[in-house]
Point group: C2
Chain length 891, copies 2
C-alpha cells in the first residue's frame, strides 16, 4: 500500500500494510513482487530486511539513504551491495541481497529530464546547432564507469527519476530511448531499460560472492550535522493514535471473524486502509505538513468509527447468543470510549437510576488469559462491582488530577466542539481478567452496600519540609522518594532482591535554528540540539501520593507545562509513568525538544539495546558503529535510535528495561542512563522537504495553543537475564490493551440473560506464553488468515526461547478445518513454492559463527500443530468445512 | 512565424515574417487565420492594427498588455473592446475589432491547472474528502460575472493558459472538461471551449456598437514605476544587425528572382527564417538572455552567409551575361564586406599588383535611381576610380580615426578569432550612382595619375584656444562650431534659408537598482531612471575637422567611452552623426543608459511625432495621453516612444527631423529638444522574465569588456511642411543602402567583358518618388510576389501625398505577365474574397470627421497599372508566360 517507514512503525503494522498491498497486486495483476524498493526511508531496519524482505519471498532489497560515512567506506570497499542478515535468531534462513545506491535515488548528474530540469537533452538532429550525441554519450559512459568503479560485477543500476518526477513521462522516455540507442551504438557500455528484478537476476547470474551485513542502518545522517533522528519522536500524538488504532484493529478483526465478515455492513476495511497508508515514511514519521497529518488522522478516525460499530455488534452478538435470532441484528447498544485517554467516557459518567446497572465487557485479544487494571471515570462514589460470576470485587476511587481535568475540558471542546456536560470526580480502578480471545463481564451499580469493596483512595501531600523518605507500592515493588526534594531516589523489588538508586527527570534540547553559514536547523526530520537544559521542578518537594487497594499513584507537577503520575499496581512489578507535556513554550524564540531521563548508577559500558520495529533487540554502543570507524559530530543526535517496544541496558547483575506506548526516539547518552524524547516543537523548518515548521497546536474556536502530549512509559529492573519475560509479555499487553464496551441494563440480570464470559478457543486451551496471534482475519472468500508470532529471540529467556507449539484444532474450537496452507508473510504465495524459488547467494570471506536456527516443521495435516522457533512468524490460510461456517459462531 | 514585437520591428520585417507564417499555414493546413493574437507584446502599434491586422483580412485583434491606468478607465467605461483605426490615411477602410483582456493573458485567479499550480482542482468524487463541485462552480460563476460587468454584450473570453503552460496539457483539459460540465449543469452561465474566431463571430452577431480608438497603445506601463520603454533600445547592436539584414534580405530576394530561384542551391530561405524569428517580442526587443541573443545572431549570420553567396552569384550572372553559358554557374568571385561597419573589408584592403584593378559593383534595391557616397577602407593613397562608362571620378581619402581602428582591431579579433593582417590607412569615399533595381560598376586601380581626382583630406585640429567659430560643410548646409567650447552651435541651409541655434550632447540616466520596498529596477524591459547626468566633454574644445571634395567630417572624443563623427556630404542637406559609445562603465556599481540630445530653441509646445514601425507618424504630447487623463509618475520613462524610422518636431516655421539606422527609444523631454537612447548596461535584472542582467560584453580569448555600439543618426531642418520628403526618401535609402560587391580583375577591361550597368526595369522607367518595392520575390512555384508601398501619408507632402501609379509592364521589362492577382497583405488569400468576407462593425457614438481615403482601383488587365493611395500597400502574385521565365533574365 505504501513505502512504509522503517523506524517508527510497529512490525505488525508493517506486515498488515504489506499484506494489503501484496494481496491487491496478486488479485488485480496476478503478480508476486520479488524486490523490496525502500529507496526513500531515512534509515533501514533489521525487521525490514529479514521480515518484510526475506520472509516475503523477496530476492533483493534496494535503498538510497545510508549514513554518509558508511556510504563513503562502502564505495571504497565495493560493499554497497551485501547479503543482509537482519535477525540473529533466523540468521542465514532470512537473509536478503541488499543494494545501497552509490548516491541518492536519482540519476547521475546531468541525466534528469523532467520539464524544467537542467540536464542537456540529447540533440540528435545533425542540422541543429545543439547537436551533441557524442558529447552526451561520453557523459553517459563516464558516469557509468564511475559507478562501475565502486560496484562489484559489471552490472550497475541507475534510478531514472526521483521525487515528484514523471508528471509528464514522455520527457524522460524520449531521452532514455535516445541514450539507449546511441550508447549501445557507441558500444563501450550496454544500456537497457531494466527493473530491480532483472538487475537482481543479472547480479545472481554472475556467481559473485557478497559480504554479509548484520543489524541495521540506523541512525541515518546525510551530512555531518544532519542526523535524521528527530522524526523518531515527531508528532507524538499522531504516533500514539496510530499505535492505539493498530492494537484496536487487531482485536476488531478477531471480532469481525467471530461474527462473520460483512462486505457491505460495517467492517474493518476502512481502518485497514487508513492504518496502511499511515505507515508511510511521511506519515507515522510525523514528517508531513499539518493538513496532511490531519487527513491521515481523519482517515483513521473514520476507519475507527466503522470498526467500532462492528466491534459493538460482534460483542453484542457474542453476548446475546442465548437469543439466537438477534445475533444477525444485535441491538448494538454497546458503547466504547475512544477518548478515555483524556478521561472522557460518557457511558461511565452517569448516575445510574435506581434498578439500572452498567455492564462493562472486557475483551482480550491475546492468546492467553490476562489480568489488568481497568480505569474509568465516574461521577459518583456509590459504586458496587460484580464480576462475570456475580461475585463482588474490590475497586478503588482515585480523584482525577487537576491537570487531567484541564486537559479533558480543553481537548473535548477541541475534538467535539462542545464542553462535556458533566465532570467526573473519580477514576474507578479495578483489576479485571479475561480469557484468551474472549471477554468477561463486569456489572457496576450505584448501590453502596455497607462493607462495600469500593474504597476511596487516601491522599497525602508532602510539602517537602522534612528530611524523611516516603515509600510507595504495596507489593514486591517499592519506590522511595526523598520528601525534601520531592524526588524518586530508590527502587526495590523484595521478591527478586533487585534494588537500585534511581532518578527520573526532564531535560529539553534547544533546537538549532540554522544560520547562513550552517543552515541545518532541527526540525521534523532532523534532530540538531543546540544545548541541553535540565528542567528544574518549580515547587521542589511537592508530591501528592494516592494510595488504595488497587494501586498507588505519585502526582508531580514538574513545571507549568510538565506533570506526571507514577503508578504501581498491586500485583505488578513494573512502574508506569504517565506524563503530560505541553504546550512547549516557544515564545522565547527557541524551539525545544523534550526528553525524560531515568538515571541509575549501573555501569553499562556505553551499551544499550533498542528494538527493531518492536521485534528483535539490537545492541547499540554509544559513539560507535559496527560497520565503520565513526567520526562523531553530533554526540546526542548521533546516538539516538528508534524505539517501538522498548529499550534496555545491563550491568553485571541487573537489566533495566523501559517500554513505550508508541514510537519514540531513545538513547543512553551516559552509562546507567536511559532517555526518551517525548515531544518536539519548533520555529524553523529543517528544509528536508516538508517545507513547514513542525509546530503542532490544538484549537478551540479560533484560539490555538501548542499541543499537549499525554503518554506512558514503563520501567522495571530485573536480575540479569530475566528481563525478556517482562519486555515480551507486558510489551504485548501494552500493544493489545483490554478493549472495553459499555451498556446500561435494567436491573442486574445481565449475566442471566447474556453470555457473561466467552473465549473463541477451546475453554481449556491457551496459547503458550511465547506466542502471539498477530493476525486472525476472515478473508473475502471466507477463509481465514492466521499469523502466529514467536515473541522471543534465541537465547533471550531460558524457558521461552524455545520452539513453541500451537494446536490449531483447539485454537479454532468448534470449527472444522478443511485445509491449512502455509504462505509467505504477506499471504500472496505458497510458502513451499516461495522457498523453492529463493535465490541462494554466495558469501564472501569468512562467515561468523551463527547461532543454531530453529524453525517449525511443516504443519502435518494429521495433528494440525504449528511449531514456531524463536522470532519465527508463520502465516497460514485456513479453510473450514462449509457447514460449520457462519452462524455457528453465535450459537 | 512568431508573435512579433510591435515597438522595435520595421514594418517590412513584420510583413515578411507574417507572410512566411501565413503561407506556411495555408500550404500545410489550407487555413487562413482570421484573428490577431498579440497577447504578450509590451505595447501595441498602429501598424499592427491596420497593416498586420485589417490588411491581412483579420476580423479581430486581441492582446493583454495595456497601460494600467488605461485599463482601469476602460474597465469602468466598458471600452476594453473597440474598433481600432490605426492609420489616419486609411481610416475606416483599415479598421479592426480589438479586444483588450481585463487582466493578464491568464485565467481568473484560481483557474490555472499546470502541474504544481495552486488552483484547487474540481473534485467531483462525492466519496472523497475534498469534494467541492458547488464551491468551484460558484467560483467560476463569480469570476465570469465579474468579467461580464466590465464587458459589453454577454460574451466573455478567458485565456485558459499563460506563459510556459500546457507542458502537460492533460492537467488543464481534465479540469476544463469538468468545469464546462458542472457549470452548464448549474446553468447560471454557459461555458464552452471556444476560439478567438468563435468569440469574434459571437460578438459580431450581437449587433452591438463599439467605440473607436485611434493611434496606438504606447508606452505600456503595468505599474506606477514600471514603464516598458527600456526595450526600445536594449541590445542596440542586435537591433542594428536585424535592420542591416532586413535591408540586405530585401535586395537579395530581388537578385534571387533576377537569377532564378534555386530550391537547393544557395537561396534566401535561411535568412528569411532567421529574420522572421528575430522579430519575436523577446528577440529584436533585446529582452532575451545572452545565449538566446547569440543564437538569434548566429541564425542571422548563417542566413546571411547563404544569401551572400546567392547575391554574389546573381550579380556575377547579371554582370557576366555576355558569356551566356556561364550564367548558370558563374565564377562567383565577387566578395562582400559585412564587417564594413568596423572598417574591415579585405577585398579593398590590398595593394593591387600592377595591371590589376578592383571592381566594385554597386547594387540599388530601390525603384528609383539614386546617388550616395560609398566608403571603403584602403591601404594605399595611389588610387584612381573609373565609373561604369569608363570616366574617372572624384574621390577623397580620409584618415581612419584612431577610435575606429581600435574598434576594428578588437572586434575583428572577437569575431574572427584572429587579428587582421593589414591595417588600412584611409577611407576612400566617392559618390556612386546606380539605376533602379540595378547596379553600376566602379573600377579602382593603384595608378596615381598626375592630376588624379583622388584627393587627400585636409585635417584641422582646433585646440579650443580662441573664441573663433568654425564652419563645416561645402554646399547649402553648414554647421557652425564654437572653437573654444568645441561645440556645435548653429545650423544653416542657404538654399531654403532655414537656420537654427543648435546643441548636441550626451547624457546618461543612472539605472534604478531596486530596493526592498520598491524593487522595480531598470533593466532589459523597463526604463526606470534614477537621475539624469549630463556628460561633460573631457578635452573641451578639441575638434578635428576633415575636409575634402566629397564630404566634411568633425571628429569629437567626448570622453573615454564616447566619440562621434559628424558628416556633411557634398550635395546632401542633412547631417550624419556616427557615434561610438561603450564600454559603458559600471565599475561604480551603477547601471547606465546613454542618450544623445539635440537641442534647439524651437517652441514645440510639448509635441513631437514618432513613426509606427517605420511607417505612419503619430503625434505625441509630453505628459499626455489622448485616451485618458494621465497621472504622471515617470516623467522621463513615461514619455519615451519607439522609433524605427525617425521622429520630428515642429514650430511655427520649421520642422526638425531625426532619422535612425535601427530601432531605438526616443522622446522630446523639453520643448525644442529631441533625444535618442543609444545604449544600456546594467547590474540588475528588472524581474520581468528574462532572469539575467542585461550586460552585453564582447570577448577576446578569455577577456571580456562591455560592448561598444557604433551607429548613426541623421538630422535635418526644413521649412514647416517640407520635411516629409527627406524623411520618406532618405528614410528609404537608410533602410536600403547600396549593396557592394568586390572583385579583382586583370587589367581594366572589366567594362569591356562585362555588363557595366544594369537595371531590371525598363531602362527608361523609374518608380515614382512616393512608391517603394517592398517585396519582389520569386515564389516556389515560379510566380512572383510583388508588394508595393506608397511611402507618404495623406497630407504629408503637397506633391507626393497623392495617388501614385506603377506600370507593371515596365517594372517587369522583358517578361510577359500572364496573370496578376491581388492578395491580402500576407499573400494567403485573394483580396476580393477577403474584402467580401470582412465583418462590418457598428460604431458607437459620434464618429469624428475622417480625411478622405484614397485607394488604388483594381488592376486592369489591359494596362496593368497599379495605383496606390497614401500609405497604401498592395500585394500581388504575378504569373508569367512560361517561355519567358528563367534564363531570359541573364540575356
Amino acid at each position: 500500500m505504501c513505502m512504509h517507514d522503517e523506524a517508527t512503525p510497529h512490525y505488525i503494522d508493517m506486515i498488515d500494510q504489506t499484506t494489503l498491498g501484496h494481496r491487491f497486486i496478486k488479485q488485480e495483476f496476478d503478480q508476486v513482487p520479488r524486490v523490496g524498493w525502500q529507496i526513500d526511508p531515512f534509515g533501514h531496519s533489521a525487521v525490514q530486511a529479514y521480515l518484510l524482505g526475506a520472509e516475503l519471498g523477496f530476492d533483493s532489497l534496494f535503498f538510497a539513504r545510508i549514513d554518509y560515512q558508511d556510504r563513503k567506506r562502502r564505495k571504497d570497499d565495493k560493499t554497497l551491495e551485501v547479503i543482509w542478515r537482519g535477525s540473529k535468531s533466523l540468521g542465514s534462513t532470512s537473509q536478503i541481497f541488499t543494494g545501497v545506491f552509490p548516491r541518492h535515488y536519482d540519476p547521475p548528474d546531468g541525466f534528469t529530464f523532467e520539464i524544467n530540469d537542467v540536464s542537456e537533452p540529447i540533440q540528435d538532429d545533425i542540422t541543429l546547432f545543439d547537436y551533441n550525441v557524442q558529447e552526451r554519450v561520453d557523459d553517459f559512459v563516464a558516469a557509468a564507469l564511475a559507478q562501475a568503479n565502486v560496484t562489484r560485477t559489471n552490472h550497475i543500476m541507475w534510478a531514472m527519476g526521483t521525487d515528484f518526477r514523471y508528471q509528464y513521462a514522455n520527457t524522460w522516455f524520449r531521452q532514455m530511448d535516445k541514450f539507449i540507442h546511441y550508447v549501445n551504438k557507441d558500444g563501450r557500455v550496454n544500456a537497457l531499460y531494466s527493473t530491480p528484478s532483472i538487475y537482481t537476476d543479472a547480479k545472481y547470474a554472475t556467481n559473485e560472492s557478497w559480504p554479509v551485513k548484520d543489524d541495521d542502518f540506523f541512525p541515518y545522517a546525510d551530512k555531518e550535522n544532519t542526523y535524521w533522528t528527530g522524526y523518531f519522536s515527531s508528532r507524538p500524538a499522531f504516533k500514539g493514535y496510530v499505535r492505539m488504532m493498530s492494537g484496536y484493529y487487531l482485536a476488531a478483526r478477531q471480532l469481525e471473524f467471530f461474527k462473520g465478515r460483512s462486505k457491505s455492513g460495517p467492517n474493518t476495511d476502512a481502518l485497514a486502509d487508513a492504518l496502511a497508508i499511515a505507515q508511510h515514511h511521511d506519515a507515522v514519521t510525523g514528517t508531513q505538513r499539518q493538513h496532511v497529518a490531519s487527513d491521515y488522522a481523519k482517515r483513521l478516525a473514520m476507519g475507527y468509527v466503522e470498526a467500532e460499530e462492528l466491534v459493538a455488534s460482534s460483542l453484542a452478538c457474542l453476548a446475546e447468543s442465548t437469543s439466537k435470532t438477534e445475533c444477525g441484528n444485535p441491538m448494538g447498544k454497546l458503547k466504547q470510549c475512544p477518548l478515555l485517554n483524556v478521561s472522557y467516557c460518557p457511558p461511565s459518567e452517569m448516575t445510574l437510576s435506581s434498578g439500572k446497572s452498567m455492564v462493562v465487557l472486557v475483551y482480550n485479544s491475546l492468546g492467553w488469559k490476562r489480568e489488568d487494571v481497568i480505569r474509568i471515570p465516574v461521577i459518583n462514589e456509590s459504586i458496587t462491582i460484580h464480576d462475570s460470576s456475580g461475585k463482588e470485587i474490590e475497586s478503588q476511587l482515585i480523584p482525577i488530577a487537576n491537570a487531567s481535568l484541564k486537559l479533558r475540558n480543553y481537548y473535548i471542546q477541541a475534538y467535539l466542539g462542545k464542553s462535556p456536560s458533566v465532570t467526573p470526580k473519580y477514576w474507578l480502578a479495578f483489576m479485571a481478567s479475561a480469557p484468551p480471545l474472549g471477554f468477561s463481564t463486569y456489572v457496576l451499580s450505584n448501590v453502596k452496600n455497607p462493607g462495600s469493596l469500593t474504597t476511596l483512595s487516601t491522599i497525602y501531600t508532602s510539602l517537602g519540609s522534612d528530611n524523611d523518605t516516603l515509600e510507595v507500592g504495596q507489593g514486591n515493588l517499592k519506590l522511595t522518594y526523598a520528601v525534601d526534594k520531592g524526588k524518586l531516589t530508590h527502587y526495590t523489588n523484595s521478591r527478586n532482591l533487585v534494588n537500585a538508586d534511581i532518578k527520573q527527570s526532564y531535560v529539553f534540547y534547544s533546537a538549532y535554528a540554522g544560520s547562513d553559514v550552517d543552515p541545518q536547523a532541527s526540525g521534523a526530520y532532523i534532530f540538531r540540539p543546540n544545548g541541553t537544559y535540565p528542567i528544574k521542578t518549580e515547587q521542589q518537594g511537592l508530591l501528592t501520593v494516592i494510595r488504595g487497594p488497587v494501586l498507588d499513584e505519585v502526582h508531580e507537577q514538574i513545571n507549568t507545562w510538565i506533570s506526571q503520575i507514577t503508578r504501581i499496581y498491586k500485583g505488578k512489578e513494573h512502574v508506569e509513568v504517565e506524563f503530560m507535556v505541553g504546550p512547549i513554550p516557544i515564545d522565547d524564540g527557541i524551539g525545544k525538544e523534550l526528553a525524560s531521563q531515568i538515571t541509575t548508577a549501573m555501569e553499562t559500558n556505553k551499551t544499550f539495546y533498542t528494538d527493531s520495529n518492536g521485534r528483535d533487540f539490537i545492541k547499540r554502543i554509544r559513539d560507535y558503529r559496527t560497520d565503520w570507524e565513526l567520526q562523531v559530530n553530533q554526540p546526542v543526535a548521533g546516538n539516538y535510535y528508534p524505539v517501538n517496544l522498548g529499550l534496555y541496558m545491563e550491568d553485571e547483575k541487573r537489566e533495566f528495561s523501559v517500554l513505550v506506548d508508541r514510537s519514540v526516539g531513545g538513547s543512553s547518552l551516559e552509562d546507567g542512563q536511559i532517555e526518551l524524547m517525548l515531544h518536539r516543537r519548533f520555529l524553523h523548518d529543517d528544509t528536508k522537504g516538508v517545507g513547514e515548521v513542525l509546530n503542532e497546536t490544538v484549537c478551540v474556536s479560533e484560539e490555538c495553543t501548542g499541543l499537549t502530549i499525554q503518554g506512558k512509559f514503563y520501567f522495571r529492573i530485573d536480575p540479569l537475564g530475566e528481563g525478556a519475560k517482562w519486555r515480551r509479555t507486558v510489551g504485548q499487553e501494552i500493544y493489545s490493551p483490554f478493549l472495553l464496551a459499555f451498556t446500561e441494563q435494567d436491573g442486574d440480570n445481565w449475566t442471566g440473560s447474556h453470555v457473561p464470559t466467552y473465549s473463541f478457543m477451546d475453554p481449556s486451551y491457551s496459547l503458550p506464553d511465547n506466542v502471539a496471534v498477530v493476525t486472525l482475519q476472515e478473508l473475502e472468500d471466507g477463509k481465514v488468515l492466521l499469523r502466529l508470532a514467536h515473541l522471543y529471540e534465541t537465547g533471550e529467556d531460558k524457558d521461552l526461547s524455545v520452539v513453541a507449539s500451537v494446536e490449531l484444532r483447539k485454537l479454532f474450537h468448534g470449527k472444522k478445518i478443511s485445509k491449512v496452507t502455509e504462505t509467505s508473510l504477506s499471504a500472496n504465495q505458497d510458502r513451499v513454492e516461495m522457498e523453492r524459488k529463493k535465490l541462494r547467494w554466495k558469501i564472501a570471506g569468512a562467515v561468523k559463527d551463527e547461532a543454531e536456527v530453529f524453525r517449525g516443521r511443516p504443519v502435518s495435516s494429521s495433528n494440525l500443530v504449528v511449531e514456531l522457533g524463536p522470532m519465527e512468524i508463520r502465516t497460514f490460510i485456513i479453510g473450514f468445512e462449509p457447514s460449520v461456517h457462519g452462524l455457528v459462531l453465535c450459537t
